[in-house]
């Protein structure tokens, strides 16, 4: 996997070398056995490709690089260590399931330690829907190896041959004598460390007993009781609260600063380091009051405003972008009976995770520990090491299960800010971004312009397809349809606002444009939108989800009525196939668009946890309704005009349709991730439904902020 170029916010991974000898697992965890999985060389090289340099700079692994490890203690507790982060996608549960499967131990005996740079192996970051296809197999292998180690220990202890031994329910059983030893009993007195190579074979999908079924959310109880400590809940002895003084606008530079009044307040520390200005105080209220006394002026420079955005993106587009082509678009166009040329646009939208960016930073004995909700603990560790010019070995980043990210929490700015304040104050500092800061200073999903030219024959076959994406990105850009003459290109532009990863990346924009355009072509051809797609489709997996959604929705039986419409969309991204069909109603007199029903069919190979997968798909639909209908960041001359929930509308209970999900379980295919792909179908399905209801063709997201403009 290469890093998609549109992940602008990512940095290179650090050179990481793990040395087992120096780590005293057993002091922390007690005696037992540790099994580690050596990183597969080719997997690592692929993960590093496109940006990361590791170790000797060649991308190759060094001996001792471990991808994952687990510890089995004398009480039988199985502790699994992974650098992945839990941000609501529930990999804590699905990864526990796969370990339970391989180790033949109950999920309740398994504890995952996640995203702690001191304890867990290096990980590039939790993004790209990669956990299920890469981390899960790695944990399976290490768990399968651990199982074999336990069998060896039992065989030795009983002096029997391995072949009579069976592993089940957290014990090794002698099938002849019926003697049994719990894992804990087997590991007693051991301090055994074993590393295994990547050639262990985990359980085949058809034989899954634990994975493939729904399992309740691990630690669910701690969330419904309010006990779980998010970063924002953490308290450290002697902790102070921090606040940052932000520039008055993007692109502004510091003109003057006077912090004397703040500095004079007892208990307050003022930090000014270049253009970084912040305060700490014993309470958040006092920190706010202190911040308000700071006299600061900023020199602003003119910034591109929203009205000029789309023109600016086209004007500053990279002229040298090389398109990918097959066949000849010119030939295809001349063979066309009908042609269509349209432009589609998307605005910037915000992730708006409900838990804002936050960090608690503590310096102790020249070591820095930062708790923060990020999707890239090791990347943030690098940022901190660089910011403070200390070795990475002196920095520890810990990520508690976090209040969501959606791709927005890849960078470590709040960690760096908190650490800078803590350094000056000489005490731990908690820094929680306000909602206004969240809407202003985080990166956004890119805005973009997409231009499509196409040609069709009268029988509905697409003869030519040309697709240009300006600024928004190239994820999901290539068409999945069977077209002979294709030219597709992504053009970098100058973005007035800070932009970066968002759930699905540009696949949201590219699917919107493509699937609306396909609908327009279907109408041009006088064909049913689904039949038109089937006519131009060779991909069986895409066809399967389109058919499944259509059947569940009863597409053929849909009844037209005034102010009601139906729309369909389909696509493919990151190993997952999605089809979304919607029914909408136009409410009068407000002309509001109400999503009545949404049916999604999804296939991503073998399913690990069906209920959690359904949850992700439903959640994607709800979240996607926002970007489709009403979410947008409004801005002018370097200022965000709607940096709060009262002004930036997010989907609520009343926006939620009846949602049906059809899961297609392909046990013959390796599991792919599902955290992102399900979101890409909802916007075009809604756009197509709005056209069906009203005859109005909307080509810009958001489509109906404040209702349709009829």
């Amino acid at each position: 996997m290469t890093f998609e170029p549109e992940r602008y916010e990512l940095r290179e991974g650090p050179a990481y070398q793990f040395d087992l000898d120096r780590r005293d697992f057993f002091r922390a965890l007690g005696g037992g056995i540790v099994v580690g999985l050596l990183v597969n060389e080719s997997a690592t090289a692929r993960e590093s490709e496109g940006g990361g340099q590791r170790g000797g700079g060649s991308g190759a692994t060094t001996p001792g690089d471990l991808a994952a490890w687990l510890h089995i203690g004398i009480d039988g507790t199985i502790t699994v260590f992974t650098g992945k982060t839990e941000v609501g996608q529930n990999i804590r549960t699905s990864l526990s399931q796969v370990v339970s499967e391989e180790l033949h131990a109950p999920i309740s005996a398994i504890r995952l330690v996640m995203a702690d740079t001191d304890l867990t192996p290096f990980d590039q970051g939790t993004f790209g829907s990669r956990t299920t296809p890469t981390m899960a197999p790695q944990l399976r292998k290490v768990a399968a190896s651990a199982r074999e180690v336990l069998v060896d220990l039992a065989a030795e202890q009983w002096k029997v041959d391995r072949s009579v031994l069976v592993v089940e329910d957290g014990r090794v059983l002698n099938s002849r004598t019926k003697q049994a030893l719990h894992f804990g009993q087997l590991t007693k007195g051991q301090k055994l460390v074993k590393t295994v190579a990547n050639d262990v074979s985990p359980t085949r999908t058809e034989q899954w007993k634990v994975a493939g079924r729904s399992a309740p959310k691990v630690d669910g109880r701690s969330f419904v009781t309010g006990r779980h400590h998010f970063t924002t809940d953490i308290k450290r002895p002697g902790m102070l609260y921090g606040k940052i003084s932000r520039p008055s606008a993007f692109g502004a530079s510091l003109a003057s600063f006077n912090g004397r009044a703040a500095q004079a307040i007892p208990g307050v520390t003022v930090v000014r380091d270049g253009e970084f200005i912040g305060v700490t105080a014993p309470s958040e209220q006092e920190a706010e009051k202190a911040l308000a006394t700071i006299e600061v002026r900023w020199n602003e420079t003119p910034q591109v405003s929203q009205g000029a955005l789309l023109e600016h993106l086209k004007k500053t587009a990279d002229a040298g972008a090389r398109p990918s082509q097959r066949g000849s678009v010119e030939t295809g166009m001349s063979a066309a009976d009908k042609k269509l040329q349209q432009a589609y646009t998307v605005q910037y939208i915000a992730h708006a995770p409900l838990e804002p960016r936050a960090a608690v930073a503590e310096w102790r004995d020249s070591r820095l520990t930062v708790w923060t909700g990020t999707q890239r603990p090791f990347g943030v560790r690098s940022e901190l090491a660089q910011a403070f010019r200390i070795p990475e070995s002196q920095v520890r980043v810990i990520v508690p299960d976090t209040g969501s990210g959606y791709g927005g929490k890849h960078t470590g700015e709040v960690a760096v800010e908190a650490a800078r304040l803590a350094k000056a104050a000489g005490r731990p500092v908690k820094l929680v971004w306000t909602r206004e800061e969240e809407f202003t200073w985080a990166y956004f999903r890119p805005a973009g312009v997409i231009e499509i030219s196409s040609g069709i024959r009268n029988d509905g076959r697409i003869t030519a397809w040309e697709f240009h994406n300006y600024n928004s990105g190239n994820s999901g850009l290539p068409t999945p349809y069977d077209i002979e003459n294709v030219k597709q290109a992504f053009h970098n532009s100058d973005s007035p606002l800070r932009q970066g990863s968002y759930r699905g990346l540009a696949a949201t924009a590219n699917h919107f444009a493509r699937e609306v355009h396909m609908d327009e072509l279907a109408r041009l051809a006088g064909m049913d939108p689904l039949e038109f797609r089937y006519k131009n489709l060779k991909d069986d997996r895409l066809r399967a989800v389109l058919e499944a959604a259509a059947e569940r929705f009863n597409w053929v039986g849909r009844k037209k009525s005034p102010d009601r419409g139906f729309g369909v969309a389909g696509g493919y991204e990151k190993g997952g196939y999605i089809s979304t069909i919607t029914e909408i109603a136009i409410d009068r007199p407000s002309a509001g668009v109400r999503v009545v029903r949404a049916t999604a069919a999804f296939e991503c190979g073998a399913i690990v946890n069906p209920e959690q997968l359904k949850n992700q798909i439903e959640g994607s639909i709800v979240q996607g309704i926002g970007g489709a209908l009403f979410e947008e960041i409004t801005f002018e001359n370097g200022r965000i005009l709607n940096p709060k929930f009262s002004k930036y509308r997010v989907p609520r209970f009343s926006d939620t349709p009846t949602i049906e999900v059809v899961l297609i379980d392909r046990k013959d295919l390796a599991p792919a991730g599902a955290g992102e792909t399900p979101i890409v179908g909802i916007a075009p399905a809604l756009g197509n439904a709005i056209f069906d209801a009203t005859g109005i063709r909307l080509r810009s997201l958001p489509m109906a902020p404040g209702g349709l403009k009829v």
Binding site: G88, G226, R227, A292, V296, L354, D401, R435, F645, F653
Partner: protein, 189 residues
Amino acid sequence: MQSQSPLACSHLLTVHGPPSWVWQRLAYTSLTMPRVTELNVNGIARKLDIDSERSLLSVLRDELDLTGSKYGCGEGQCGACMVLIAGKPARSCVTTAGSATGKRILTIEGLENNGRLHPMQEAFLKTDALQCGYCTSGMIISGVGLLRDKPKPTDAEIRHAMEGNVCRCGTYPRIVAAIRMAALVGGAR
């Protein structure tokens, strides 16, 4: 968190800043502002000494270590901070500690009974009505508040009552199912 600040236009002061005499006046004013010395939280009289203008949310979280109620927006728009005051749902981020004095305050931490989960909490687990879990405290409290007011709400009534609670992960259908489930087993207590 936005506590009620006597400086209503504090955003202007980031540019101009007050002269020191204003600051001295402020400090004096703070000292003479009313204090809150006791709050009734989850059935227990908690002793404190805080400025009555502080948000109830910040007092619960930072003074009383009840971090189950969350900060999501500070402007009463997202519901992550919901508590029950005298049995009615209240947004603690825009409620002053002073206005909550002398009233029964119930937070998420007070729902459990001797280790037994409240039916609403059980229902949220059964329907998997959470993903990241950050909105969950506020959702559960709002749900309990609704059932106390309407023990058998329709789905439409549920959605209407919960409109002020945001779940960015999009688990709304499951939350409606959870509240419906809790209503069946008498989740109004």
